[in-house]
């Protein structure tokens, strides 16, 4: 039989969501303004967005840009980060560059990129790519730098060439750290996806959201926020499942500390 405590810990995320919606509902009823619809009104608007063909095309276009930006970003950033981690020359060349670009909000580059590349897919995908790249490069760099020298020596003694050591020792041993970077990158991809569409309105989930805002359709605005939030939770949870599967060998067993049991 499942104990009461286990039941609570299983249901905790659900209870948190319901609690949040409850506070929203009560708050909206008390404030009673047009720009803050009740949770029930917002939730009611969700199905109408998801069944509208036009909206679905917009949302799918957003997700496509995000997938491309994320995919290309990860594919280029991991090798760069790993090389930086294992070569002092590469690191000292790229490090200053990354230090300069790290604190710049990538969406702030959007107007300039729009000037160069127009308001189409390319500009938005590029901004997502930039948002994803930095955390992935940074974590790959840290992961590669921490690889134990003796592990590489053991590989060299077995006859692994420098390239093979990179691919078959540095990459797997840095993988837990790389995947932490990818998880951050995934969330950043979602954020930059929406903000890029806020600046260059033409299509996408952000486009629906801000058009609705302009037209004062506040229940649609909040419904879109719920949809984007749900997408974030879903993507993150899916990625976390993948991550756990890939690096099961490195995870310490999750035992609750005595004080909590």
């Amino acid at each position: 039989m499942m104990s009461w405590r286990m039941l609570v810990s299983r249901l905790a995320p659900l209870l948190a969501c319901l609690g949040l919606l409850g506070i929203w509902q009560v708050g909206a009823l008390i404030l009673d303004t047009d720009s803050f619809p009740t949770a029930i009104d917002a939730l009611r608007a969700v199905p109408s967005i998801l069944t509208d063909k036009e909206s679905l095309i917009n949302i799918l276009a957003s997700l496509r840009r995000m997938a491309i930006g994320f995919g290309v970003g990860v594919a280029l950033s991991i090798p760069l980060g790993l090389m930086m981690g294992r070569s002092r020359a590469v690191a000292s060349f790229f490090n200053p560059l990354l230090m300069i670009t790290y604190p710049v909000p990538k969406a702030a580059l959007m107007p300039i990129i729009m000037l160069w590349l127009g308001v189409g897919d390319l500009a938005k995908t590029l901004v997502i790519f930039l948002g994803v790249s930095l955390p992935v490069v940074f974590h790959s760099f840290q992961g590669a730098r921490a690889v134990e020298e003796k592990m590489l020596w053991s590989g060299a003694a077995m006859g692994l060439s420098a390239g093979q050591r990179m691919l078959r020792i540095v990459l797997p041993s840095a993988l837990p750290e790389i995947l932490i970077g990818c998880r951050t990158g995934l969330v950043l991809a979602l954020i930059t996806m929406i903000t890029s569409e806020m600046i260059a309105r033409q299509s996408g989930a952000g486009n629906i959201l801000f058009n609705a805002l302009d037209m004062g359709q506040y229940d649609t605005v909040f419904a879109m926020i719920i949809i984007v939030g749900a997408m974030g939770i879903g993507l993150d949870a899916a990625f976390e499942q993948l991550r756990k599967r890939l690096v099961r060998w490195s995870e310490p067993r999750f035992d609750l500390p005595l004080s909590f049991s």
Partner: protein
Amino acid sequence: MIEIDGVSQVFQTSGRQNHLALSNISLTIQDGAFVSILGPSGCGKSTLLYIVGGFVTPSQGVARVKGKAITGPGPDRGPVFQEFALFPWKSVLGNVMYGPRQQGVSSAEAEAQSRQLIEMVGLKGFEHFYPKELSGGMKQRVALARTLAYHPAVLLMDEPFGALDAHTRTRLQNDLLNIWERDRKTVLFVTHSVEEAVFLSDKVVVMTRSPGRIKRIIDIDLPRPRRRAELLLDPHYQKYVVDIEGMIDDTSEDELQP
């Protein structure tokens, strides 16, 4: 045969000063000999091992194996490190199979050989465990099996039992001797334990502290196969230990002089 010929090693410290770690070391190790390098920490004994492994290039002099100058690591010289250096993403079996697979041995054959080696080091039943699930002593057993798996002619052991508790250490010493007495590989064994060096070796090389020089080379003339219980009571063994400990004490006093 391993020949170390006039090898010196200079390291640059963080203060841009040159630190002489090894000074003019010459040493010849015969095939099939078990040779220990003994010295206080910081005497460069591990560096000497890394030079033979090809992991470190000496500043001066040359090291040769079978008459050929060492230019890099190779499967003829298998290292076993104090830090184990296992591949944590591979199971015990995956770790042991790694070398043979790299050498082009077929998967089935590599697995059969590896299972045999895992049994030999006393880890039968742990084939599918990951390194994080093993104790220190078990990890070092895996590391030894992983190195033996690609049949190096020379074993390079860098304080392999230094991180283990006394009990585990004794058991691994016994097991290492048993394994070694079967196939008599050349072993270069770095340690700072006098008892360990005398118990295991044919020859003990005593080094001085910084800069590392060879102080004395002592032949350990004790019968094999060696049994720990007999050896501990053997006055010859006791005399070797006391004599060599005396030499180490001397080097510590040297160090106090400016």
